[in-house]
């Protein structure tokens, strides 16, 4: 998968942009606050129709302009497609080969992007929500329909929570939303488990590559749907039964608290270093090794599942990694293939052997400086 050309207008602080990226490495060098991350964000938008930062769509549009547009030509297995996204206020319009899609869901699947940004370095230390988001985004990259599925689940969850907050509730109505929660939630769980079945061994392998086999890094999905060490079924019908059983056993606690405590929204991905929770146990450098391994494993999983090299966006992570982790990252990038977009304040951090093009980013202006 490769981006052949990229254009942006009125996107954040970027000046009207048109570049034809290199098929391997594209390095964007510039001082702080010049627009490097904004450029990666524009690429991410083209694939995922949203920002990878915690940003509203409207904040992506240049302050002085009413709307922004990002266009790109993407090549996948010899086929070229033109993608375009237009933002006006908080509204998004997406077009494939010049035709505006009527449902945003129909747009996905033509540009896979994986981003690795400084925020990801705290994945193991941070909240369970960050780890769920990591898993969910990785699944979405392989199964675009997952976005609709998670949205539906959250809707079901909100309706049910609303019922649980009421002092009295029609039992038949609550039972209806129990079942609605179970239906949508089981689908989410099934997707997560089948992703993790593929992902966990790859992660373990990458982690040992990075740490030079000194340590064992493992992951375990901890589900609110299972008690103790119970194993989530891979069969959807059995999984629904497990979910229903657990929900029934927690119904009094839920009614007391007034919200749903059983379901994929309350789960966590436990990361363990040599058999102990990484969260309270790993060193700073080990946390970074986890983050790095999670990201590299995500790329490999997508490649194995789809036989496509996703586009990798690396936002200024080298400066946050120590010498040996940075070396591991560069080695991986050289081995992996695929198109990579890297931002940095100092290109000397980016020691890849592959061919590259270097751009300078200055006050929103992006210009080729070599390659």
């Amino acid at each position: 998968m490769r981006i052949r050309s990229l254009e942006a207008e009125s996107f954040r602080n970027l000046e009207p942009l048109r570049i034809e990226p290199h098929e391997r490495f594209n390095i964007f060098e510039g001082l702080n606050g010049q627009g490097k991350t904004n450029l990666l964000e524009a690429i991410y938008l083209l694939g995922a129709l949203r920002s990878f930062r915690e940003s509203k769509v409207s904040s992506l549009v240049h302050h002085d302009h009413p709307s922004a547009v990002v266009r790109g030509e993407v090549e996948l297995r010899g086929m070229r497609r033109r993608l375009a996204v237009e933002l006006t206020g908080n509204a998004r319009r997406a077009a494939l080969d010049g035709n505006v899609v009527s449902r945003l869901g129909a747009y996905f699947g033509h540009l896979f992007v994986v981003v690795f940004a400084p925020d990801d370095l705290t994945l193991t230390k941070g909240s369970a929500g960050g780890r769920r988001r990591f898993v969910d985004r990785a699944i979405f990259n392989v199964h675009p329909t997952y976005l609709d599925e998670t949205r539906d689940y959250l809707k079901a969850l909100k309706h049910r929570n609303d019922l649980l907050r009421r002092p009295v509730v029609d039992p038949e109505l609550l039972a209806t939303f129990d079942e609605t929660l179970i239906r949508h939630g089981s689908r989410i769980l099934q997707r997560r488990m089948s992703f993790l079945d593929r992902f966990a061994p790859i992660f373990q392998e990458v982690f040992s590559e990075i740490t030079g086999s000194d340590h064992l890094g493992e992951m375990r999905y901890q589900s609110s749907v299972m008690s103790g060490d119970g194993e989530i079924s891979r069969d959807l019908d059995t999984l629904r039964d497990q979910f229903a059983e657990r929900l029934a056993s927690k119904s009094r606690a839920e009614q007391r608290r007034g919200y749903t405590i059983v379901g994929p929204h309350a789960d966590d991905l436990l990361l363990e270093l040599d058999g102990r929770a990484a969260r309270g146990h790993a060193s700073q450098g080990q946390h970074r090794a986890f983050a790095l391994a999670l990201k590299i494993a995500e790329l490999r999983t997508i490649r194995e599942a789809t036989e496509i090299d996703p586009i990798l966006l690396l936002d200024d992570v080298s400066s946050e990694l120590d010498e040996s982790r940075n070396h591991a990252l560069m080695t991986h990038l050289d081995q992996a293939g695929g198109q990579v977009f890297v931002t940095t304040t100092d290109r000397r951090w980016i020691r890849v052997n592959g061919a590259c093009r270097v751009y300078r980013v200055e006050e929103g202006q992006v210009s080729v400086s070599s390659g």
């Binding site: 329909t145 539906d152 038949e172 109505l173 209806t176 609605t180 239906r183």
Partner: protein, 199 residues
């Protein structure tokens, strides 16, 4: 706005309350109606009056009607053994256009949505059970929409009608006719696959 006569302003405000019509469109419509002349305006006013006076909802199925019962409920030629439950009046019109359904309808006027404060008693369900038993219905077809709330509504009905011993069915969702699969959105396609049937 303040340049306009108050009566015209009122008309514009009323028009812009309709869905899909903003203030600009409402202003255009109001001016266009004025430009049509007195005869047109008189006709328009009379038809609005008539609508206010005559249009009610069918006592039985809650479809639009000009008397107690709508045309479908009072048509003896309809098959009273099947009843199709839909969320809105346009859904009835869509089924009627297809010509594929000869039974009767029940319009709920909405779907369950706890967050919006819509529970079973906000829907027009009070006479559904009695209709089913009194009219000798053998099959209820649930045709509420496919979103989370529409599905929940179908589920609620399935549960609460289960003791009547009727056949309860749900319309299939899936791929549009004449469409190439490549252009069907992935969620629709994956639901169509889930709902596949033996041939």
């Amino acid at each position: 706005m303040s340049l306009l006569p108050a009566s015209l302003e009122r008309l514009i405000v009323l028009l812009s309350r309709l869905p899909g019509i903003g203030e600009r469109t409402a202003t255009r419509l109001a001016f266009a109606a004025l430009a049509e002349g007195d005869e047109y305006l008189g006709d328009l006013a009379r038809s609005l009056d008539e609508a206010t006076e005559k249009i009610t909802y069918c006592k039985s199925c809650h479809m639009l009607a000009e008397s107690e019962l709508c045309r479908i409920c009072s048509d003896p030629g309809r098959d009273s053994r099947v009843m199709c439950v839909v969320a809105t009046i346009p859904d009835v019109l869509a089924f009627e256009r297809s010509g594929a359904f000869r039974g009767r309808y029940h319009v709920t006027h909405g779907v369950l949505s706890p967050l919006k404060g819509v529970g079973p008693s906000e829907l027009r369900l009070h006479n559904l059970r009695s209709r089913l038993t009194e009219q000798g219905v053998e099959e209820v077809i649930l045709a509420t929409p496919t979103g989370v709330e529409g599905e929940a509504t179908a589920l609620y009905l399935t549960r609460s009608l289960s003791d009547l011993g009727l056949r309860v069915t749900r319309i299939a969702t899936g791929v549009p006719m004449g469409g190439e699969l490549e252009y069907v959105d992935p969620t629709t396609l994956s639901r169509a696959l889930e709902g596949r049937v033996n041939v």
